[in-house]
């Protein structure tokens, strides 16, 4: 491998590495958001259960 080939390879590897790191950071962030959605979804039925049950309304 010549010096020029090494430098060109390095340049393209840098581009690939930066884009890969960016995508990984985005993936980790989306995973965190998914966990938070799950956490909120888990809290929603609990709060429903805490509500006092209503008596059925009498009609007529």
């Amino acid at each position: 491998m010549t010096t020029a080939e090494k430098y060109v390879t390095a340049a393209y590897c840098v581009v690939f590495a930066v884009v890969l790191v960016y995508v990984l950071i985005m993936a980790l962030k989306l995973q965190r958001l998914e966990r938070e959605v799950d956490e909120l979804a888990g809290r929603a039925p609990e709060e429903d259960e805490e509500e006092t049950p209503r008596e059925p309304a009498r009609v007529g």
Binding site: T2, T3, A4, E5, Y7, V8, A10, A11, Y12, V14, V15, V18, V19, Y22, V23, M26, K29, L30, L33, E36, V37, L40, R43, E47
Partner: protein, 238 residues
């Protein structure tokens, strides 16, 4: 007027393309561009094999300019129409521009090392002006995160992003105005300074990087919007 409306409609159509389709298109285009760079494009008569950095270096630079211009456009939309989504879109555009700007500096330095024997030349106007542009947008983040979220932060960020767009034509014109032409000029008023497979390869690389940048923009913007909605939901639950 009708052409402006057609452009807006075209942008609207592009924004409806699903993210997975964009991701696949990016992957295919970038792979094709790499294949052309290494297996189709001929060696340059002057620089030889090292000229192959040009295809991604210039394409990334144009993409970075496009991102900053996109950020300015969204900033203008925010100031003009008070569209609440435009501030976030402007921020994401500038962030993308900074990532591609980093890549321009890195690939440019590597190319400079092969061609000129130096990683950086302070005497080169084009290099220094691009660095000024890059640092200007770095300061955008310092400004944005030094102010509490709200209308004031959105307005100041928008004004700053609009000012920054002035630096783009200055940076682009710098190599044409420079007295010592070490940095190659590839685009003149009469068109590109190359043709044949070099031009074809460059066009493919440029399209690939623009599509990649747009895909990453949509991914980040989607994440940021989801984050904002979750924050509002958490506040509602608290």
């Amino acid at each position: 007027m009708s052409s402006a409306a057609a452009t807006i409609r075209a942008v609207g159509r592009v924004s409806r393309i699903p993210l997975p389709v964009l991701a696949v298109a990016s992957l295919v285009l970038v792979t094709t561009a790499l294949a052309f760079v290494f297996f189709v494009a001929p060696n340059d008569a002057n620089q030889g094999f090292s000229q192959r950095i040009f295809y991604f270096h210039v394409s990334i630079a144009i993409t970075a300019y496009a991102c900053f211009a996109g950020g300015a456009w969204q900033a203008l939309r925010h100031l003009w129409k008070r569209d609440p989504r435009a501030d976030l879109a402007s921020y994401v555009c500038v962030h993308q521009g900074l990532i591609f700007g980093t890549l321009v500096l890195l690939t440019g330095s590597i190319w400079a090392k092969i061609s000129w024997g130096r990683w950086w030349l302070w005497s080169e106007d084009q290099l220094v002006l691009f660095l000024v542009l890059f640092l200007f947008y770095c300061a955008y983040f310092m400004l944005r995160f030094s102010i509490d979220p709200g209308p004031q932060r959105a307005n100041l960020s928008a004004v700053y992003a609009l000012f920054g767009v002035v630096l783009i034509p200055v940076s682009f014109a710098a190599i044409r105005l420079a007295k010592n032409l070490i940095h190659p000029v590839v685009f003149t008023l009469h068109g590109p300074n190359f043709g044949g497979w070099i031009l074809v390869t460059y066009c493919i690389a440029q399209i690939a990087l623009l599509v990649l940048a747009y895909t990453l923009y949509r991914l980040e913007l989607g994440g940021k919007r989801l984050d904002a909605r979750l924050r509002r939901l958490r506040e509602a639950f608290a």
